[in-house]
């Protein structure tokens, strides 16, 4: 009941082409995350879907219905804003019920629905408070309550967790994901945080300069990145890229290897391919160790080691790539698939 289709959507601001041409099919009930560096047009794309901006060209269909020229409120979508955008002079009850009041529902029904939404979100004790009397996490919940109470065909989230502290963010991430599964409503979620993207999404859209670089499940993106941009953007620490002679030996312009797919050995030489070098920085996180190694011709490589190996700055190591996890890219940056 809530599939969203973008058909050749284009958006220009003056002479700037923010979204050149986006085609996208969002399945009913799925959780899709738009991720990309800042300024890549992901928020703009979300606002186009919401109807807060007019599209310059193309069509937007919700559930097969062309909504390109339909005002925001009539699209059957609701949105959670980055700043929450709660109405400061209204109580929590007023905030959550505002959309229903505008829709002209009878008072009793509004109360019933607001109380229902509040109990899902554990907001019942706060119904008569003003937003300024709530904590950040509670405000966030009110914003979500305002979205779910209208029983929309789809939720739109615009970086909703970026104003919360780290611990609360992890919590809310789980809650939002769980809520979306419970309600089985389509959700489009914008973030620049790839951890949020990887953990919450059924499918991820990686955007760069308004273009869809890749659209797929989180593991597809991680295991089979379509190009250099996606390979570099997904995964933390980021993938190592090696060019030149070493790449040519693999029949590619660039090869990529993730830090976790480099085996670290103390001794020189040994079997198979390997690059030796000196550790310039070692970051000890306890559960993992990140090693930054100056590996001569291969450049500076990052390696991730599980646990603690007792390696420190200045130590010599050899990094051996796992041959099954070498990604090959051609001259234009596209992945070469066997």
């Amino acid at each position: 009941m809530g599939s969203i289709t973008l058909d050749g959507v284009r958006k220009t601001f003056g002479s700037v082409n923010v979204i050149p041409n986006v085609n996208l099919e969002i399945d009913d009930g799925s959780f899709v995350v738009f991720v990309g560096p800042s300024g890549c047009g992901k928020s703009t794309l979300l606002r186009l879907i919401a109807g807060l901006e007019d599209i310059s060209d193309g069509r937007i269909l919700i559930d097969g219905r062309d909504v390109t020229n339909v005002p925001p409120a009539k699209r059957g979508l609701s949105m959670v804003f980055q700043s929450y955008a709660l109405y400061p002079h209204m109580s929590v009850r007023g905030n959550i019920g505002f959309g229903l009041k505008m829709a002209g529902l009878p008072k009793a029904e509004i109360d019933r629905k607001v109380e229902g939404a509040a109990s899902i979100l554990n907001l019942t004790p706060y119904l008569d408070r003003k937003p300024r009397e709530l904590s950040g996490g509670q405000r966030q919940r009110v914003a979500i309550g305002r979205a779910i109470v209208r029983e929309p065909e789809g939720f739109l989230f615009d970086e909703p967790l970026s104003n919360l502290d780290a611990a609360l963010r992890v919590n809310m991430r789980l809650e939002i994901a769980k809520l979306q599964k419970d309600l089985a409503t389509t959700a489009v979620y914008v973030t620049h945080d790839q951890v949020e993207a990887m953990t919450m999404a059924d499918k991820i859209v990686v955007l760069n300069a308004g273009n869809v670089e890749q659209y797929g499940t989180p593991l597809e993106l991680y295991e089979r990145p379509a190009n250099l941009f996606v390979a570099g953007f997904i995964g933390s620490p980021r993938m190592n890229f090696i060019g030149g002679r070493i790449a040519s030996a693999h029949g590619a312009a660039t090869i990529g290897i993730r830090p976790e797919h480099l085996r670290v050995a103390r001794e020189e030489g040994g079997q198979g391919e390997g690059w030796s070098g000196v550790i310039s920085v070692a970051e000890h996180l306890g559960s993992d160790t990140f090693l930054y190694v100056d590996a001569g011709e291969a450049g500076t490589l990052t390696a991730r080691v599980i646990g603690e190996l007792g390696l420190n700055e200045g130590g010599r190591v050899t990094l051996k790539p796992d041959p099954a996890h070498i990604h090959r890219f051609d001259q234009t940056g596209k992945a070469i698939r066997p």
């Binding site: 925001p72 700043s83 505008m102």
Partner: protein, 290 residues
Amino acid sequence: MSTRQTRVLGRVLTAPSVGLLFVWMIVPLAMTIYFSTLRYNLLNPGTEDFIGLENYVYFLTDPAFLASLRNTLVLVGSVLLITVVLGTGVALLIDQPIFGRNIVRLLVIAPFFVMPTVSALVWKNLLMHPVSGLFAWIATSLGLRPIDWFAEMPLFSIILIVSWQWLPFASLILLTALQSLDEEQKEAAEMDGAKAFSTFFYITLPHLARPITVVILIETIFLLTVFAEIFVTTGGGPGLQTTNIAFLIYSQALIQYDVGGASAGGLVAVVLANIVAMFLVRMVGKNLET
């Protein structure tokens, strides 16, 4: 927050200006209180006797007092109503992205920079004059009888002039408040299905409650003492129709040369202003909390 040393230093440094301001206020006040108990008429010098509260009795029982009190309240109330309502409208209009917005804003603010005597003269001679005024010309070109503004509706004319002067102030304060309204809140209301009128009543107007309070408080202070506009245009007349408290005190002191009576009137005005202020602060003060 501050150390003891900076607090002491702060007190020492502010002491001269605080002292000066205190003297500046207390000396005239004390002299006014003293004069208000004397029979002190400039036409009969040398006969200043202590007469107790007789000046107050004369001032308060003067029929002109009640008339001018009424005029003052009507003037203040009407100007507040006009400037707040129209000011909100003007602020909403010049908040729109239009071509030449900066020039439009400058023009809207301009009347505030015209001094009261000048604007009163412009209104009196160029706009409202029954023979050569612009309004009279408009009326005659439409085949209507021109209105002799200051003879037929004197208080309303004063209200018009004063409103014209204070409209920019209200518009300016409300415009800056509108610009601080969170854009995402309006978008949230749009997503919630609020039309333009609902957005205005449920989102914009509550946001403006506090700046409107500020406008009312500040304007009231100045509107209680409107003088130049009345002096230049009607001189308080016809009869007492445009005499407010400030003009009444002026006429006591400098037309009837009764310094004692004028001093008593001045103190009555101080008390009245404080009563009005107290009501206002009570009424709207809760808007200013947090």
